[in-house]
Amino acid sequence: MAGGMDLGTGGKGGKKPLDVSINLVPFIDLMAVTIAFLIMTAVWTQIGRLQVANSGQSAEPASPTEDKTPPIALLITEKELRLSAGTQNFDPIPVTRGANNKIELEKLRDKFKELKSQLPDASAITLQAEDGIRYEDLVRIIDECKGDGLPNVSVAAAMG
């Protein structure tokens, strides 16, 4: 039969049955090959990136609105986080850690909201980290900045 379908017709005479049985063998073969290929090429861990540019140079050109906003900086020490916007200094946020020794950033999120209400055009922030800061804490703070409307994050070493 054409198309590999068995119509179940034996001879010339008699009525042809209406039910058609599809040959599943090639379909199963195709499935098996597809599964093998997909298992080999599967990516089980989704890896992303947080982009960093050269020192003092942003990957995106600075827009004129950015020049009007005062420079926003966040000093990261092992005990506290100090947020400042130009000459304005916000209250220091003590560093607290939750489960799995992860830094808690709810208070920093509130500060960012407060900052964004004052400076809605602000999009750049400089993170000044001390030597003892863990990479995970730095990445979590960068992630928080990006999530709270400050996508252009600079990372610098803390002076002093």
Binding site: I47, Q57, A157
Partner: protein, 194 residues
């Protein structure tokens, strides 16, 4: 009268019993049909699950037990670039060990000469290869992926950032584990100035 072979002879009733293959409802079939429908259903589900996990970018980073990446919600998709792997003990660039983290924490210098040299060499290789192929579009962009363990101190990271920037790799990407399913809508930028 028929001649019978001497020996045991069963009774008529026993001779026609199931023990000797008689009686019952006839012989059972040797061939059994396999149920194909649940098999096909299972295959379809597996294929759909694997297609959902499929990534066309391939394996950009080699995951090892020594390097546990931090997690981030607002990350973008990673791209092919030279990889600087920083574990708690070693710094490895594209499979070659560059130095020990313990030594780097002792020094007070800002750069890592071996790392700079290796990255410069890779940059030159890339540029030579593209010049030979007369590929004008694939110019050097300065992308580098940093795959660092989450416990590494910023003291080490700032030296790596500085070395990358000095060697001409200004677009530095921190490799992270994507969380939350969705990636950031627009690519965001961070600037490093160690």
């Amino acid at each position: 009268m028929a001649i019978e072979i001497p020996g045991k002879r069963w009774g008529k009733r026993l001779q026609h019993s199931k023990v000797f293959g008689h009686g019952g409802h006839g012989k059972k079939q040797i061939y059994a049909d396999l149920l194909i429908t649940p098999l096909v259903d299972m295959f379809v589900i597996i294929v759909l699950f694997l297609i959902a996990n499929f990534s066309a970018t391939g394996e950009v980073l080699m995951m090892t037990r020594d390097v546990q990446l931090p997690e981030a919600f607002n990350s973008t998709e990673i791209e092919m670039a030279p990889v600087v792997m920083v574990s708690n003990t070693d710094i490895i660039v594209s499979g070659n060990a560059i130095g020990r983290v313990e030594d780097l924490t002792r020094d007070e210098y800002l750069n890592i000469p071996a790392l700079e040299e290796k990255l410069r060499q890779m940059k030159k290789q890339y540029e030579d290869l593209h010049a030979l192929a007369k590929d004008t579009e694939g110019s050097f962009k300065g992308d580098v992926n940093i795959q660092a363990n989450k416990d590494v101190q910023f003291k080490v990271m700032k030296r790596i950032l500085y070395s990358c920037a000095t060697a001409g790799y200004s677009n530095i990407n921190f490799a992270v584990l994507q969380k939350g399913g969705d990636t950031a809508a627009a690519p965001s930028t961070a600037t490093g100035s160690p």
